[in-house]
Symmetry: C2
Subunit: 211 residues, 2 copies
């Protein structure tokens, strides 16, 4: 199986060749067709000289090949790792990773796994602990909101006030309130705080009625 490395430079080519028997190296600009994708089993993106926005763009186009993509960074960073993983990368590692490690990562991602450095993985799992993991039913709740309601809900989920939302959407504050009332009803929440949590997939524990 061949591995395709996309990089602006070829400085690390040596290490890659050491890791895998067959390596293809191409420039970032290369156009990937689905025909090509049969030719390799995984795709490796060198993002060491690329800014965040462009990283995501490159990743998106790389993902179209329907092969697992491993993002490689020169300055591994939690925030970058998570945003790339979230965007669809199957792996995240240092661009200077040793051949042996590259082989491990290839094994993992080419068999449907997710790979990142152990410390990051740990942190990644720890971070998700506060997120509600229950029921698919309420997942649809967000779906039952109208387009406009969804916009309002999302802004509340970011901590915006009614006035700010109104300005954002170019409507009156009264309209925002109207949407909110509808949302509260549909999602079964009481106020904007509970809505904000719900919009972030956080379980809202039932509050004891007082008075």
């Amino acid at each position: 199986m061949k591995r395709l490395f996309l990089t602006p430079s070829t400085s690390a080519r040596e290490r890659w060749c050491e890791a895998f028997e067959t390596v293809l190296v191409a420039d970032h600009g290369v156009q990937l067709s689905s025909a090509d994708s049969a030719a390799y089993s995984s795709l490796w993106l060198d993002l060491s000289t690329v800014d965040e926005a462009r990283s995501l763009t490159l990743l998106k186009s790389a993902l179209q090949a329907a092969r697992p993509v491993v993002a490689m960074s020169a300055t591994p960073d939690e925030s970058q790792a998570f945003s790339l993983i979230k965007a669809g990368a199957h792996g995240y590692c240092h661009v200077e990773a040793a051949p042996e490690q590259l082989r491990e990562i290839a094994l993992v991602v080419e068999h449907g796994g997710l790979w990142m450095p152990p410390s990051l993985m740990q942190r990644f799992l720890a971070l998700s602990t506060r997120v509600a993991v229950k029921r698919a039913p309420e997942w649809q709740q967000t779906e039952q909101l109208t387009e406009r309601e969804l916009m309002v809900g999302e802004r509340v989920g970011q901590g915006a006030s009614n006035r700010e939302i109104a300005a954002d959407l170019g409507v009156s504050e009264r309209t925002v309130k109207a949407h909110l009332t509808a949302i509260f009803d549909k999602l079964g929440v009481r106020d904007r705080v509970q809505l904000a949590l719900t919009m972030n997939n956080i379980e809202v524990p039932p509050q004891r009625a007082v008075q």
Copy 2:
């Protein structure tokens, strides 16, 4: 490499033997010593007849062997998957998974990867990344709250109203407000919505000043 399967029954043993050359099967009750752990490369937990609480207990003891653990369920379920993964499992699959798939999973977890069914993986990533990824600064923030302030903050993070919090803590509503004012100041948030998000490790994007 051997794989150790922990199961109350041996009904699936056949499939396991088909998947791997060497398979050890033992009861859930078996005690794992670190000496044993050298004998196998991964540990597979059959949780098909086990309730949630016991699942976590079994997983915890299995993890002590310092080998990757794959949890297998008869009724794969998002909630169960996530709680097991968070508790330290490296893989989650159906107990009836085909031999070929078992081999894939073994490859992944034994090389440091995380494996779960693709649909679950997608959902898992979608959920996880709503969470803020930089906490070092704000983590201390939570620490800089006094005991009482922390209690109030946590309740706000669960969507409680001032009145409810007051009742919970057995103080007046005015006191709750006083604590809140102090919290807003310390954490640099504007209102209870932003506080609720912050308490759940969710990044509060700066809002454009309007007016």
